[in-house]
């Protein structure tokens, strides 16, 4: 009996998702024994032509991590989509945009200006050369992928069957997803392969979370000695637990750091950033307009804090260049 074929691919990502696969440790051997890995350019020698040579739907599943910004990434995920029966968005970037998605707070032009122009970047580039889509050099023309005006999630580029959330996805969830896949025991298409409840519900510190508004001040984790037993919010430290999906075994909480929201929203939430913003701001213990503003000033970057992993999937979607209304 031939083993099911699977592939892995990466787009705008850091490589942490590939690490997460390796973190399966001994279990990775079971996976390798059960499936044929037919495409994984990050780990082994595979070329685009290998993918192109496959029949449509030849892979049982293809796991794609990373957000999508370049023309090359778009072409590759379109190929992956065609060659796979199930396309799985793997990790925060593919799921909701992730850290690369924060680039949508800047225009493409300002990014190029910072990197290649007069910006204070480390690139030594006195001639301010910018990457071109096509350039003539001695011996012929060379081409480069182009950058789209905004970062997109995987499901904004191609249809996606399943989502494995997290930055990176927790090993337990990966193992469960692979098992479900091998057993043909997958939930309905479009499902997020993780528990559908908020992290707070199972948090070991939940008993110390006050019910009434109590926040008088927001503190950054490096500014205080964090009590390892007490709810982070009760200590004035922003924690995304109230709106973030559970399933991570609270690795950050266990390491005495607050949740930053990488597993994204639960299924009832349509806009993650607005949901966690609502949860946090309503806990502020003041009824005076100016005092409320002063307390909330301690959150210097609401968009980057509440949409840290989810900006491209926000209902207000995307880039200020595309919105172009001139915010702040």
């Amino acid at each position: 009996m031939s083993k099911p074929k699977v592939g892995f691919y990466w787009c705008a990502s850091c490589g942490g998702c590939e690490e997460a696969v390796v973190d399966l440790a001994e279990d990775v051997l079971k996976v390798v024994a059960a499936v044929d890995i037919v495409f994984w350019p990050c780990a082994m020698d595979f070329k685009r032509s290998d993918l192109e040579a496959m029949a449509d739907g030849e892979m049982a599943a293809c796991f794609v991590n990373g957000a999508i910004r370049t023309s090359e990434q778009r072409e590759m995920v379109e190929l992956c989509r065609r060659k796979a029966q199930a396309l799985v968005a793997f990790g925060s970037c593919a799921h909701t945009g992730g850290i690369p998605g924060l680039a949508n707070l800047c225009t493409l032009e300002s990014i190029f200006e910072t990197v290649y122009g007069d910006g204070q970047f480390s690139t030594v580039n006195p001639e301010k050369t910018r990457p071109q889509a096509a350039t003539q050099v001695p011996g012929g023309g060379v081409t480069l992928a182009t950058m789209d005006h905004s970062v997109k999630t995987l499901d904004q580029v191609v249809p996606v069957d399943y989502y494995l959330p997290g930055c990176p996805p927790p090993v337990k969830l990966i193992a469960a997803a692979v098992t479900a896949l091998l057993e043909g025991n997958l939930p309905p298409r479009g499902a997020v392969l993780a528990p559908d409840m908020a992290l707070c519900k199972e948090c070991p510190r939940i008993d110390s979370k006050p019910q009434d508004p109590f926040l008088r001040e927001f503190k950054r984790p490096h500014q205080v000695l964090i009590d390892p037993e007490k709810c982070f919010l009760a200590q004035g430290i922003l924690c995304m637990g109230p709106a973030t999906r559970d399933g991570c075994d609270h690795a950050c909480i266990g390491g005495n750091m607050p949740c930053t929201g990488c597993l994204g929203p639960v299924s009832r939430t349509r806009d993650y950033g607005a949901a966690i913003l609502s949860a946090v701001s309503s806990l502020v213990d003041s009824n005076d307009e100016h005092e409320v503003a002063a307390i909330l000033e301690k959150i210097p970057d609401p968009a980057g804090t509440f949409n840290r992993y989810s900006l491209p999937s926000s209902m207000l979607y995307q880039s200020i260049s595309a919105n172009g209304n001139g915010g702040t």
Binding site: A275, L277, V280, Y317
Partner: protein, 169 residues
């Protein structure tokens, strides 16, 4: 922008404002304005909430996504909330939400929170007119459509606690 206040056909731009009014104060004020035969700009679509504290910020972003050029929220004056503290929750959420949408390329002036009591029909008229004038000056809200290769666009629009028709349908 020279064309901000008119459509391509040359018609003056008429903003669409979604207004969330609390049942006990601002919605009653709008009733009062009506029975008093006051006239205010017809650009607002009023949605009654039991309390401004019921306003989930997701409602606001959904309104903007579905074509509102601005969102007006009306609640009871501080100290007057029928549920004691709901309007303060609204105040805190709107404060932070205005800052967040500003970072995302949307003028914070498109979101406005006002305290209007049941007896303040005149204030309601003035606030609505001022809001319409302000959003008119800002021009239409431009939001890029969200690409949906899955073709499940409607699923974006169902919010917490919403019926199948969607909150704003």
């Amino acid at each position: 922008m020279s064309d901000a206040t008119s459509s391509p056909s040359g018609e003056p731009f008429e903003p669409r404002i979604v207004a969330f009014f609390c049942n006990w104060c601002t919605y009653t004020a709008s009733d009062l304005a009506g029975t008093s035969r006051m006239k205010y700009a017809a650009n607002v679509r009023v949605i009654r909430l039991m309390c401004s504290g019921r306003l989930d910020p997701q409602f606001v972003v959904a309104a903007l996504r579905r074509g509102a050029d601005g969102v007006l929220v009306g609640g009871c004056h501080p100290g007057d909330c029928h549920y004691q503290e709901g309007n303060y929750k609204c105040l805190r959420r709107m404060e932070l939400l205005r800052r967040m949408v500003g970072q995302m390329g949307i003028e914070p002036e498109r979101l406005r929170l006002e305290w209007i009591s049941a007896s303040e029909g005149e204030k309601l008229r003035d606030v609505v007119n001022a809001m319409v004038a302000q959003v008119k000056a800002l021009g239409p809200l431009k939001l890029e459509p969200i690409p949906r290769p899955n073709g499940d666009e409607e699923s974006d629009l169902q919010l917490v606690g919403a019926s199948d028709e969607g909150v704003l349908a």
